[in-house]
């Protein structure tokens, strides 16, 4: 008999089909149609911005990460998601810096994958928003030709965009907030509005999110509770003052809510591990987003609500630990 070497491992000796890289790359795959929609609506600018943000993330992970972590796909997700939250006309160097911040300050300083408190993509965006408030709120208007850039993408590093190059428009939320002009629901649903590259086509985001939920690559309780809370609260406000406050449909499909609810809040690392916790987490995000949108100084608040609730995740987890089998209620033999 030949010498046959056998493995010696601990039980269980078989393994389920899911793996961390598989989850991560599935998320990236479902983002491809979202990127496609972004390019459809915003032309080459969207492609440039998303690519640059992704390159920024991947390069940072490669240079400063623990090594061999590019294959798990988490840096790529952060990059694509960050790109999708940026205005199409933003200078590319800012998108690159955003990627660097997202991975460097958002993830690696905490200890890499699984250790970060805040959603890295949103942290990157938040810092960009603080550093470059003008460029981060310059939204493109409609252009004549699809291939036209939607802004001064090629502004030199460390310079702001040339305001004469940008054709500025307003986002539906901005129009609603500052001018009380509503937008057609159909346009919101399909994405024919102004805004960040990836936040406009709700229908594509919804399709990808539902696929991930079915595969259990995201916890469906989070997006559902966010959307439910937003719908209920905004509808109540709408009943109170229909002129000032938009209806639920507008609130659900405008701005970054869909992208935030399905792709940002559901980041496994920065969301609660317990199912009860996910309900609380989602409801908190929804309530806060409505508060900021309707009564805050900003037209959009999804990013800040998610970051805020990220910070509460450890507390939510602690408060919603499952009841261990055979504890709690007294079981008496009769």
């Amino acid at each position: 008999m030949d010498v046959h070497r056998f493995e010696l491992t601990a039980s269980p000796h078989i393994k389920g089909p899911d793996s961390t890289p598989r989850i991560m790359w599935s998320v990236v795959a479902t983002l491809v149609p979202v990127v496609g929609a972004a390019i459809y609506w915003f032309g080459p600018s969207a492609a440039l911005v998303i690519t640059t943000a992704t390159v920024g993330c991947v390069v940072t992970e490669r240079l400063f990460g623990p090594g061999g972590t590019l294959r798990d796909g988490s840096a790529a997700i952060t990059g694509v998601l960050l790109g999708l939250t940026l205005p199409p006309g933003i200078p590319l160097w800012m998108a690159f810096v955003g990627g660097f911040i997202a991975i460097g300050l958002g993830k690696l300083v905490f200890g890499g994958l699984g250790q970060n408190v805040f959603n890295p993509a949103l942290l990157g965006r938040a810092l960009l928003q603080a550093a470059f408030p003008d460029d981060m709120t310059t939204w493109p208007a409609a252009v004549e030709h699809w291939w036209q850039l939607r802004g001064d993408n090629f502004a030199l590093p460390l310079t702001s965009a040339d305001p004469t190059v940008a054709l500025t428009g307003a986002t539906p939320l901005g129009q609603m907030k500052f001018e009380q002009i509503p937008t057609e629901a159909v346009d919101l649903f399909m994405g024919a509005t102004s805004g960040s590259t990836g936040e406009t086509a709700a229908v594509v985001i919804l399709a990808g999110g539902i696929y991930l939920a079915v595969k259990k690559y995201l916890n469906w309780r989070i997006p559902i509770s966010i959307l439910l809370t937003v719908a209920v609260l905004s509808q109540v406000a709408h009943f109170v003052d229909p002129d000032r406050y938009p209806g639920a449909l507008f609130m659900l499909f405008s701005g970054g809510l869909m992208l935030g609810a399905w792709y940002m809040a559901t980041d496994m690392v920065t969301s609660p591990t317990t199912n009860h916790g996910c309900w609380i987490f989602g409801a908190g995000i929804g309530a806060m987003a409505v508060l900021i949108r309707l009564w805050g100084g900003l037209p959009e608040g999804v990013m800040y609500s998610i970051l805020f609730m990220n910070a509460l995740v450890p507390f939510i987890n602690r408060a919603t630990q499952p009841r261990v089998f055979g504890t709690g209620e007294e079981v008496v033999a009769s």
Partner: protein, 441 residues
């Protein structure tokens, strides 16, 4: 019996992979040339050796006696000569004191004549003594002495006898074949146990992926006893004692307590059939049904194997392993133990031998915990494996104990679902060991 769910919460759905052997009739394997009988084959104290090197033993002779109440004797599973009493590889991975017997090549292997007690005339105490004397232990894997389960303290009334035919481990079909081929024997064993325990009700829980077993058991139901067959959802670990009790009775066994605290005694189908055999033939537990299977084995089979048969003999009888065989597991793939040594004997608690190929062995690379929460959704006792894993890596065992580590039954669900391939149940096994050590120190 109303409003019972047919399953418990959480758990996992590994592919059951039973098609290799579920329809294969149980065959008897010829006696090997040599058998190795460890003195420690059951939970509790190891048996005390009664033979010496050079002694001649007949099949069925007692070679080691029970050492205390939670202990059972060991019997020779073949006639022959004691070749050695020495350290020998044990299925749990250690070396254990073992009686090695050179089997007499031309022996007819007929046991000494013995009187078979008529069970109806025996008091419960005498039944228990007979069961202990026959060396009967739970055949589902843990090998807990059966007579101990038959002796609940008088202040704990027992209402239910639960017969565990779930066999939720992938690949294994020993209980399945027992129920299909010997339903009467199962019912006879149930009758003895019910009388001994003084219970009125017995429920046989069988997973729905064994419709032929359910049909056979229902066909042969005794008319004078309250015995029901309950088809259960196919889900791992449906056969775990606590899960089965919850499904059938609706009661949770309190943390740190035994099934008898909620009025239930759970016994595996194979052990019950063994009790029946003891009172049919008078023979002690010297052989058992073992499923020898897996994608890495040439001829999978269900075999009656003398206890103490070595792994190499079993594999040889089943046509040997394929070229891509990568791992050999005693028991099921979820809770079984890897075997590196070909001389390791099949013992009383060995339910199966599963040969996995490289494609089926789990990957080695692990990733950081991404807090996905899948382990929380899998844990059948509602622990937080994700957090326990982080504490285990930091060696914070006392904190783990506060988070109910001791309720973990090492079923492996968390490791099975973990996308980052973190060896959670292995870490918990080690942490439990560390806690025990600290408690003893």
């Amino acid at each position: 019996m109303k409003a019972f769910g047919v399953t418990f919460r959480h758990g996992v759905h590994p592919p059951d992979s039973k098609e290799l052997t579920e329809a294969v009739q149980v065959r008897r394997m010829p006696f090997p040339d040599r058998i190795a009988l460890p003195l420690r084959q059951h939970a509790g104290k190891p048996a005390r050796c009664l033979v010496r090197k050079g002694d001649r033993v007949e099949r069925g002779d007692k070679i080691a006696e029970a050492d205390g109440f939670v202990s059972v004797p060991i019997h020779a599973s073949a006639a022959g000569t004691v070749a050695a009493i020495d350290w020998w590889p044990h299925p749990d991975g250690s070396l254990a004191e073992t009686v090695v017997i050179d089997v007499e090549p031309f022996s007819p292997q007929i046991p000494r004549p013995r009187s078979v007690p008529h069970w109806e005339g025996l008091s419960p105490d005498e039944v228990r003594a007979a069961v202990q004397e026959a060396g009967v232990v739970g055949l589902g894997g843990a090998a807990f002495p059966t007579h101990v389960k038959l002796s609940p303290p008088p202040d704990l009334p027992i209402e239910w006898l639960l017969v565990n035919g779930a066999e939720c481990e992938p690949y294994l079909t020993t209980d399945h074949r027992t129920m299909v081929e010997h339903p009467e024997r199962v019912h006879f064993g149930i009758r003895i146990m019910m009388q001994c325990l003084g219970v009125e009700r017995a429920v046989i829980g069988v997973e729905k992926n064994k419709p032929d077993a359910i049909a056979e058991l229902e066909r042969s139901l005794p008319e004078d006893l309250d015995v029901t067959v309950m088809p259960l959802t196919v889900k791992y670990p449906q056969g775990a004692e606590k899960m089965l009790i919850e499904v059938v009775t609706g009661r949770e066994v309190p943390s740190g307590k035994l099934p008898m605290h909620v009025g239930a005694v759970v016994q595996n189908v194979g052990s019950i059939a063994t009790i029946a055999e003891v009172f049919e033939t008078g023979l002690p537990l010297i052989e058992r049904i073992v499923t020898v299977t897996g994608p890495g084995l040439r001829k999978p089979a269900n075999l009656i194997v003398p206890v103490g048969t070595m792994l190499v003999d079993v594999l040889e009888f089943c046509g040997g392993v394929t070229d891509d065989a990568a791992e050999i597991v005693f028991g099921g793939p979820m809770m079984g133990t890897s075997q590196p040594d070909m001389r390791t004997p099949i013992i009383k608690g060995t339910t199966g031998v599963v040969v996995l190929t490289a494609a089926h062995v789990k990957p080695k690379r692990t990733y950081p915990c991404i807090k996905c929460g899948h382990c929380l959704d899998a844990c059948p006792v509602f622990l937080n494996p994700s957090e326990l894993g982080i504490l285990a890596q930091a060696g914070r065992y006392e904190e783990m104990e506060r988070l109910h580590l001791l309720d973990c039954m090492l079923c492996g669900c968390c490791s099975y679902v973990c996308p980052s391939n973190i060896p959670l149940s292995q870490m918990f096994a080690l942490s439990k060991k560390a806690l025990r050590k600290r408690a003893a120190a």
